[in-house]
Symmetry: C2
């Protein structure tokens, strides 16, 4: 077959899944990954990965290639947020209807499943290949190997699944008229953990735990070994609680005892982890075009987002699903057309989810601690129950449907305006169970017509 | 002296001026420039430079080092815009009060003046030094020479005056938490010219000529040799007039005869220039921080802007003036403090002028052709005449004062709101000479209090 020699940069979650997809189409796929094969190591402990939360878009992409059941076995459903206040009291807030859940899975374990599947499908996996440079005009990729050797590869097409610090994007950035933005938020994060207690989960395993504290927060996601992977999000510097001001065990203990006391009692390794693990930063990347000659950016390389909507991986998987659909429609003799359609279709959606991810940080660290916010969520859930087609909460549209992110974003804005009016009733705390739901639905239908 | 060995990347307008400033402070300054010494060539014809328009901020920076008079001799004052309609009829719109002008000067000629002055001041000018890489942690700059030699330089501080495609900024971009945006507008530009006619200027030399045509425009600035340098701004692609659709002499003639007929008759070399000169793109760059260790970005490298406010160079010169003031205040033993203060002071201002430059494109190519816009400008001029302190038109604040760009921007927004109300009178075309000016001033003062 012609035009079927594909080079993918990056064997992360998106690169591996993409390799499986394209290999199943009969293509000759090689994936080049700068890291060593993690399977040859004892344990993949990076100390920087946030646990992944798989949701419907991700599952849909896995289902198409028959991996849904296999992955499900390694994941734990989380049916809602469990919100911890300063006194250790918790409140549970469902993500959707009963049985609707997002699924916690370890990044490294999931990555290994996908890499193994890719190999089974005949993908040529090249570890320890650091991409130094891409010549997008000649379709040449240059790699360095650990022993100092240099290699050049010239596939028919290059797919850059090489993440936020993409080499392929670096090459594109030097081109005329490449729009590009990288923006860090003022917060960083650090991975911590809660080990099993008496052989079992130390907290409810079927929830995403949040300790919202206004300008900062702690979260915890369950693992199959009955531990939790925790992530602490703090401002790097500032007047109040921030990484800059936690310099010794005393500082650390004081912050945790004050703000996260119930979690603190479950974290015997806090000191070692806090001072041993890196403090990582959080970036948003937006760029356009994603295509240059026979190269395409996919996943985080073109649209890295902050992790607060749990959609980074799901969005990257949906990228693969959509690209696969376009290949089915137009064939690989028309890569130009496939790539062009892909970027045109996908760019408004990834812009929308990047923005939603930024917005959701405020909701997670602050709003969820507000009683009025909980009422708002309950009103929306009730509306969705009564009018399942007419009112779908934004979180549900993003997480439990495959409605385009851009459409979900636009509809979410309309619903927010209506809900702002509903919530402006000073007696809403008492009245919320007796609202005129039909009138609210009427408002949203009127708003759509404007 | 300690800490006085300064390496500047780039001998453009900003780099050369900065070299003069720092050399006058007794520092040991070297400037590294990738181009050859233009003075050794017959003529510096790049075919891509927009003529510069020097205004008050630029003059102020030149005056401090005694170069104002010398530069003035090479420049031509432009007292306003001369707007050409499709029929060749022109309207003159003053930039400010009588005698307030911006000054047209050729970029290459101006650059040579500054390079010669820098040499006189003892600056070590190193042409043909292409900066391949900067190690910001070690303060190392790596250069390639035309004969293939590689050089390393390690000054006390590095100043990146290397423009929109800065090598120093490339190095900074790889650092954690460097925010960066590069954004191209949909229009490109091409340099053209109007030669002298019968030994004299072919049009009024003391104006900036504009042919505003809605989505596109032509402009012309006078040169001392009695020619005009013209710049054509068109969308790269689109339905209507755009670069993509001008493919031969016939297309070109049709566009020029239809839209720029009076200019067309003055452009005997149009064909050769249009098809010989490159089509260049227009970029906005914003980033932060500007400082990394002992390195600082200055001028376009940290805040490249589109040319529509004529402030790119003036802003870069003001950068030099402000940096010089901070060195006088804190001394060069405190480079860290000087750099930190510089970026904190300057960033809001450069953000403001980058935005104003984008906004002004619409004004130049579209609004100036609107009779109501001309009335609006006249009302503002009258307000300024009657209340010289209370109402200063935005263009005047930016061009003829050294009020910070951020303050000018904020004040301009307030004034715009008031003027929008004034102009909403459906009979304003008849009534504008009989307005209650005192009431307008009262409105702006009320707005400021909010």
């Amino acid at each position: 077959m012609k035009n079927n020699n594909v080079g993918i940069i990056g064997a992360g979650l998106i690169g591996s899944l993409l390799g499986i997809y394209l290999s199943k189409k009969g293509m000759d796929v090689s994936i080049y990954e700068k890291r060593s094969d993690q399977r040859k190591k004892d344990k993949a402990q990076e100390g920087r990965s946030i646990n992944m939360a798989l949701s419907d878009r991700g599952w849909k992409a896995l289902e198409k290639i028959g991996l849904k059941d296999k992955v499900k076995d390694s994941s734990i459903p989380m049916y809602g947020r469990r919100i911890h206040d300063e006194h250790g009291q918790t409140t549970f807030l469902s993500y959707g209807k009963e049985n609707q859940a997002i699924y916690s899975i370890s990044r490294s374990h999931f990555n290994q499943i996908l890499i193994e599947e890719a190999e089974k499908e005949g993908v040529n996996l090249c570890f320890d290949h650091r991409c130094d440079h891409v010549d997008i005009y000649k379709n040449e990729m240059y790699f360095s190997l650990p022993d100092g050797r240099k290699l050049k590869k010239v596939p028919d097409v290059i797919l850059g699944a090489d993440g936020a610090y993409s080499s392929l994007r670096d090459a594109m950035q030097k081109q005329a008229r490449f729009n590009y933005k990288q923006e860090y938020i003022s917060h960083g994060y650090k991975e911590l953990s809660i080990p099993p207690k008496d052989g079992d989960f130390a907290m409810d395993p079927n929830a995403l735990h949040i300790w919202p504290r206004g300008t900062f927060m702690l979260i915890a996601l369950p693992n199959p070994d009955k531990s939790f992977t925790c992530t602490l999000f703090l401002p790097f510097e500032g007047e109040k609680v921030c990484f800059e001001k936690i310099n010794d065990e005393e500082d650390l203990e004081s912050v945790f005892r004050t703000y996260f006391n119930d979690a603190y009692r479950l974290m015997p390794n806090l000191n070692e982890e806090f001072f041993g693990n890196p403090t990582s930063s959080l970036i948003t990347i937006e760029c356009y075009p994603w295509v240059a000659h026979k190269s395409l950016l996919i996943g985080d390389s073109s649209h890295a987002m902050v992790p607060f909507y749990g959609q980074g991986m799901n969005c990257g998987f949906e990228d693969c699903f959509i690209l696969d659909g376009l290949i089915e429609k137009f064939g690989t003799t028309s890569w130009d057309l496939v790539f062009e359609k892909f970027q045109k279709i996908r760019k408004p959606d990834t812009d929308a989810i990047c923005q939603l991810a930024l917005d959701n940080f405020l909701e997670m660290r602050d709003s969820v601690a507000n009683p009025k916010f909980l009422i708002r969520k309950k009103i929306e859930a009730k509306l969705h129950e009564l009018y399942p087609e007419e009112w779908i909460p934004l979180y549900t549209m993003v997480t439990f449907t495959d409605l385009s992110y851009a459409d979900a974003y636009a509809q979410g804005k309309l619903q927010d305006e209506v809900m702002d009016r509903v919530m402006s009733d000073p007696l809403i705390t008492q009245n919320w169970q007796n609202l005129d739901y039909e009138d609210i639905i009427h408002q949203i239908e009127t708003a759509k017509l404007v």
